[in-house]
Amino acid sequence: MLELTLRVGAADVEEVLDAVLPALPGGVHLQSEEGEVAELSVTLLPGTPGEEEVRRLAGPLLIDLSAAEVSDDWRERRLARYEPLVAAERFELRPEWAPPSGDPALVEIVLGESAAFGTGSHPTTQACLAALAEAVPSGRSLADYGCGSGVLAIAAAKLGFSPVIAVDVEETSVGAARENAERNEVEVDVRQLDLLAGPPPAADVVAVNVPPAIQIDLAGGVEQAPGLVIASGFTADDVADVASAWEARGLRVAEEQRVMEWSMLVLR
């Protein structure tokens, strides 16, 4: 199978996409955007236009175009694109199909494939992991509300928080979190619960990476305010409302971070 790499000016990416996307149902990968040049790649799947047609569509904005043979197997193409993911300079998060980096300084978290949120690549997950790495685990329990794949709960267990509870309403997430906890050989009490249907399980530290409306309801719903809350899953527009909801429970904002379009709060 052929893969085309189109080099275009970084400022011209959207204009080139205007020209090529209508003809390429399988889409385009934005491979890199360094300085003034961006690289777009197109896998020539059956039924898509060939090299000359893509070149014609991209038109004069194209700096150059190269073609290379890639595997027909999407797993091998994915592996070829894979780059190790390190969060907070502390955790190495890798899918089970990727090789470990072998860096002994990193806490490794291996995640199985599932449709559950939390591969570690999302900016909110990374922000929560960074805050978690700064928290003192000794003798403290942690609850991960809306755990998805369980990545935050597993990271907490590996740091020494105990006991660790992970809660999600979705069956897919609960199954994925249980399997991932086992895969990483840590003890996590994974429960399927609707966090808004009743008081969520209490803990000294709470990690909660969910949309803002749920954050606000949760803050009002906990029976006992935790000592530390790591909250993300919302943008700057919602920071004031989320902070107010936890402040009403006696916590104060100790740290606020922006990560790309997202925000993360640490409240004590």
Binding site: P25, G27, T43, R78, F117, S121, G148, P211
Partner: protein
Amino acid sequence: MSAGRAGGGEPSGQIRTEIPATGERGPTTMISSGREVELGARSMLILVEGVFRFDVEPREDTVKTILRNLSGEASAEIRNVPVGGASTVLTGPGELTALATSRFGGEIVLIGADGAERAVAKLLVGSVCDLERGVTSFTAQATLL
């Protein structure tokens, strides 16, 4: 009712259907498309020439949506519109909250320099993530207002 396909100038995989007037509303146009998109690739779901283009990019955790304003108006936004049954929602930076099987209802709104808003299309997007094949299948339907 008539349906036209690529030969009539529609982008690949997009179908335009003219829907006649009923007693309650005038004639309208429905644009629909289907796509199978690899993880990490950005693909166009709906193109309304001179108005907007709606793209999706299935990511590791979520589905990134990108609305391209082609209208000449100052800006364009997509807003959540509830659909019946379980559905996913759009968060602040334009990400749908689930990669798994989901459906999303939205409305495309153009905003003029004076702040005047005009809804131009209703959108319904369904997605099914196939982890065995590394692709997400999308279907999209835009009803022009």
